[in-house]
Symmetry: C2
């Protein structure tokens, strides 16, 4: 493993750090254009209703209203709600404006006015006559033959079920000493990105559309707008200067992005649309609530003999990534703990009249591993095997089949477990917590695990590009289409380029976030950016470096193989005095630069896997039912960490979000009316600073992946996955109650304690 | 010669045509940024004065004034007034603020305020104490040993004289039958671009400077700002969205561009500076007034035996391109008409206390060929040889030495003369005008000629780059650093790319005018854009095309050599039914594009020459002295015309400007006080629509140059050159008076008529 890095492994300041901390960074909603209008979407108040008529006459008559869009004057093209990754089994089930309302919040019309206030006022003046239809919110009810049809599909299924079948589960179950079967379910957390969805659209008179948008996939926004609005690709420019988070949800194309472009086209003026926080809930994307029925056969020694899964996800009113997260969840359950011989896994994505569920950090894995890792804990307790030992016994490792079907490389999962167990002193600490089982505050430890791919190959043919353009003074412009959701991806790209080129980090300037300037990229999803995007950057840098070395070789009359570049100096290996600086070499003597060097690469990538084990300590207050996560030891195997503080930031953020999803966060839809009950930060509870545990992040770099740039794999999604089962298992450890449904709210805890008759004196 | 072009040779609509005619195109002065200040420069009222002290206290106290710059708080780095072409013999003789005032208008301090009006008011409150120095305006006086020193140089020369010496002129003169010696001089026209100089500067908190500026050479602005302000190249972004003309003058870096950046840095706010029309005269760049003493020996048969030249240019207060235009003028005189054996040419650029002369369309050639082609006419008349015949006898042609030292390719000059003579019916038309010699209105015909290089090789190592990036739908982004001054250069680049790729013109999108987005280019000067920039585009397109054909070859199982691309369809030559569209090939079946293709090229270019002959008919009103150009037959040999209507536009614009320079335009500086006498469009007279002649433009495409893209040479500067001597020669033809000084104003005509005692009855 390479260790003599100059820039890789250094926690450099983010390339956009100063702009962000000084508040100067521009986000989509900051864009102001002369003559700009403000757009708003009219949303359905009903969860399921036929549109009988829409009359915009009163709205248009309101002074300051410039344009109204109704289903009559927008393209009637069905599209896939999400442009990226477009290979992800997406279903074209959305119109720009729905043919009927399918959830409370479904957009039905829009206005553009001189101010946001006028636009808001005008919405109330759009008269819509509805014919109410029966609505269904529960997946089981939705699959009944007599259920109202949401999209005219069999059983309200989005598509054919995902099926994975190996061997004969019945035979496997027959071979088992014990059978475990339970149903696990998860809530509907909302991504709650700091920056609500926003975009600004303007047309040039030549017909060229420029859109500033907060999106994870600028090229895919370009692609789908091109398809639906019938504008060729080169007449659309998508700009994303900075993003205040996305967490997967912003890899969907939102209704306002089409609507904004159409309002701009119709009015002939720039139009801005910015979601309110309420709209970001209602018109945004939540995580899919998933129900997993998991049955496993186990031998006395802890070996798994068979696994049967029925995985059902509630995708809400539109498909979005419903099929994708279902497939990923099923494949993940199949892979994390070895059970090769007999598996039968079925996954279904079901339409309901709820808001749309979409891609969300931990795409499918969060729900799947909550089920699997909870049950592994149940098995350990039932068989009286140490939970870590049971996991180590079954942990998928070197050569085992990964979710993508490729063999796993190395024993990252086991390494995380072993290191974490040692780091937190598992055996002794658990004895301590067990010893205090009679107080009001019950303490417990639990462990959770996960694996996650970098990139979505083979489902998506992963590709990134990079161009490196050397300036006349030896500084470099790096053109990359990767997205930075605020995670530091651009910094990582600059580090990779600087390392490979052998020039100082500060000499790299990133050009990004403008489809007119940068080469094609699929954007941010599936923890792919460092691995795939970084792979392209490294390859382009290798290309540029070879050009540099060839020039130096000619000038210095030394073979290329004998040269090296460090800190911007090209020298003969072992003869540091024989040198030329990159700047001198490029600039030459004259006033015209001696050389113009452009390095470039297209990188088609396969897949790599990162692993983690999270050890969590909780305190359960048996009087209030409140659960407090006290500390988390998070061990991640990510190959080489390019920017360790960035990796730690991901880990801490993932744990924060994962705690929320496990304990407090749930976007609640009333099961009678379909209304949102907590679409605001007053009512929807994320963990705040005071709720955070002590976190010890441990980054294992033991398995730098040979197909990864400098061995660096992804880490974006991993940290949100293992924390969920770790907490649930710790709660079991603390109070002996198994919660199979997230979030584990105080109400649920109190109810369970009551049922189990646990109280302070017990 | 290739003739089956799809796009080359078509007068396509300009790529930015719609934006411009609808008024939507953004120019530097249109940029508005939040919190922006307005900057103004305090200019010297004295032509030569030492700065004793500057006190900005009163200015700073004015409400609304945010920042003041004086020589004390700007970098004290001498720079070359012009960044481009930086190889052009430039002299570092300017500070950002002068150490002493060298002309009326020399910038000495600056303010930034909340409005332009406040900034203007504040200028008057900057108290400067001057010590007046003797000033000198005339080149002869400036070269005297007792003349005041403007830059502490010998004889106020900018640098050592340019010398070209072949053979022995005295021997050559001895071999002649006749000697002709006269002194010719030209005025000080101002470029009068529609868009006065303007820029907007803003710094990111990270220290990165973005500057919108109206410049012909964005990368050179970047380079020289980097040097003088000590900012690395990758921390400077220069943006030029559209330009309202430049005519060479905007290849200089102006004082306001430094000052604007410094005001932005000091104030921490964006700053805009826009020259008034008066400032565009005073602080801008005029053409160099040049005096050419030309002596030639001629045999009875019209053969030239020797040539001696003393070329002196008045560069004003700073060198700018003084040495460059002097060298070019000298080399041009040496080359247009064959006189290989004996030549002695000396050129001097002289400092005076006039405003700065700089690069201007026809760089040196306008003045030089006015002298040479006037004298050729004098020789023809004296020897009673037809002026066209004499020129044809001596015209430099195939194999003769060009100004750059390279052999001329083809006989473009002769071809222009022959075609023009035929087109206007030279012999008969001249007889007609001669027949009307007794009226008040005297008619005459004259001919002028010229040659001009495409590019400045070998003085500048010409280089351009291009990148072509194919979108997923087969449309193409073309990244080019060439500048479009309004001439249509970007359209030409798109045509070249479309032609070479075999895709429709409309499928090319140009990315330009942003140093952060496009690869390095030297910018617009020396009629280089089509030839050098276009060469890079063609080469990059060839590179992309080869990638496309390789893909198609694999898919179609046909050898690359058997494939062709036309109108976006790749087909087997001769088997049009065996085909695949570029779009299908790139997009593939899946939702991720099958291929990402990026073509790229660095193009190092040599030089090519274009030629022209202009035949002009004038009417001279001998009562008023007014000269009216009635018609011009302009024959240009430009290789292949990429966009004929664009070439015609250049020809017509050049003739308009050339008529102005020959008859009415002269930026007059009072020889006592150094004050501008006509720095406004009220007092400075350009020809308007009513003053324009009938123009017949003939584009000869007979010599497509082998080193040029599709044979296309430059045409930007050519049309302004030959019109001057054509008019002067026509005036001689009309009234028998030889004017050797431009402009030929009515006052001069009347004075000469009086001296010659010509009147209506004569």
């Amino acid at each position: 493993m390479q260790t003599d890095f100059a820039v890789i492994g250094a926690s450099t300041v983010k390339v956009d750090g100063i702009e962000k901390v000084t508040g100067a960074a521009m986000y989509a909603a900051d864009v102001m254009l002369p003559g700009m209008l403000y757009g708003k979407i009219k949303r359905s108040p009903h969860p399921h209703a036929k549109i009988v008529s829409i009359n915009a006459g009163r709205a248009l008559a309101l002074p300051g209203v410039e344009t109204v869009l109704t289903p009559d004057n927008v393209p009637r093209v069905k599209h896939k709600g999400s442009p990226a990754p477009r290979g992800g089994g997406l279903v074209a089930d959305q119109y720009i404006f729905a043919d009927k309302a399918r959830f409370v919040g479904d957009g039905l019309a829009a206005v553009a006015a001189l101010s946001e206030e006028i636009a808001e006022e005008a919405l109330a003046l759009i008269d819509i006559e509805y014919e109410l239809l029966e609505a269904v919110f529960d997946i089981e009810e939705a699959m009944r033959t007599d259920a109202p049809k949401i999209h005219d599909t069999e059983m309200n299924l989005v598509g054919p079920p995902f099926m994975l079948q190996r061997g004969d589960v019945d035979q496997g179950f027959a071979e088992a000493d014990f059978l475990f079967e339970h149903t696990y379910s998860t809530g509907r957390p909302s991504p709650c990105y700091m920056e609500p969805n926003a975009c600004v659209c303007t047309f040039e008179n030549s017909g060229k559309l420029t859109i500033w948008s907060s999106t994870q996939s600028a090229f895919m926004v370009r692609g789908i707008l091109s398809e639906v609005l019938d504008i060729p690709l080169h007449k659309i420019r998508v700009i994303v200067e900075h993003m205040g988070g996305g967490f997967g949800a912003k890899q969907d194309l939102y209704q306002h992005e089409f609507v904004c472009a159409l309002l701009a086209a119709k009015s002939g003026r720039p139009v801005k649309m910015e979601y309110t926080r309420k709209e970001a809930f209602m018109g945004g994307r939540s995580r899919h609530p998933v129900t997993v029925n998991l049955k496993q056969g186990v031998r006395q020694d802890g070996t798994l003999t068979a696994r049967q899964v029925l995985h059902t996800s509630n995708t809400g009113a539109y498909a979005s990534h419903g099929l994708g997260i279902t497939a990923v969840g099923c494949l993940d359950i199949a892979s994390l703990y070895r059970c090769e011989e007999h598996q039968r896994i079925e996954g279904r994505a079901v339409y309901t009249n709820n808001p749309i569920a979409g891609a969300f950090r931990g795409f499918g894995a969060v729900q799947a591993f909550f089920a699997l890792d909870s049950q592994m804990d149940e098995i350990a307790h039932a068989l009286n095997i140490d939970p870590v030992e049971l996991r180590l016994k079954n942990a998928a490792g070197d050569g085992d089949r990964s979710p993508s079907g490729h063999p796993i490389l190395g024993n990252g999962l086991a390494a995380c477990l072993v290191r974490g167990e040692k780091e937190m002193n598992w055996i002794e600490e658990r004895k301590k917590t067990a010893a205090q089982a009679d107080s009001r505050i019950r303490r417990g430890w639990g462990v959770g695990t996960e694996m996650h791919s970098s990139g979505a190959y083979p489902d998506i043919k992963e590709v990134s590009n990079a161009i490196l353009n050397m300036n006349e003074d030896g500084t470099v412009k790096l053109f990359t289409g990767v997205a930075d959701l605020g995670t530091g991806s651009l910094t990582v790209m600059a580090q990779i380029a600087a390392e490979e080129l052998g020039i100082p980090f500060k000499d790299i300037q990133i050009v990004y976030g403008d489809t007119d300037a940068v080469p094609f990229d699929l954007g941010a999803y599936a923890s792919r950016t460092t691995y795939v995007g970084g792979g392209a950057v490294k390859k382009a840098a290798t290309n540029l470096k070879s050009q540099l070395l060839a020039l130096a070789s000619g000038k210095m009359e030394v073979a290329v193989e004998d040269l090296e570049i460090r800190d911007g100096i090209i020298s003969v290996k072992g003869v540091p005095s024989s040198r030329v600086s990159v700047k001198e070499l490029i600039q030459g003597e004259g006033s015209v630069p001696a050389h113009t060097l452009i390095g470039q690469a297209t990188h088609h990538s396969k897949v790599a896997y990162s692993f983690a084990a999270h050890f969590a300590e909780v305190e359960v207050d048996i009087e209030t039912g409140q659960i407090q996560v006290k500390q988390v030891v998070a061990v991640h195997e990510v190959g080489q960490a390019v920017n360790p503080i960035g990796v730690e930031g991901q880990i801490e953020g993932g744990i924060q979000q994962g705690i929320g999803h496990s304990l407090t966060e749930d976007y609640v839809i009333d099961k009678q009316t379909g209304q949102s009950l907590n679409a605001s930060f007053v009512d929807y509870k994320m963990p705040l600073a005071m709720d955070m545990p002590k976190i010890k992040s441990i980054i294992l770099e033991e398995v730098p992946h040979p197909t990864a740039p400098f061995g660096a794999k992804g880490v974006g999604e991993d940290p949100i996955i293992a924390i969920g089962p770790a907490i649930a298992n710790a709660v079991f450890d603390a109070i002996g109650i198994r919660f199979r449904e997230l979030p584990i709210t105080p109400e649920k805890v109190l109810q369970a304690l009551k049922e189990k008759q646990v109280n302070v004196s017990s």
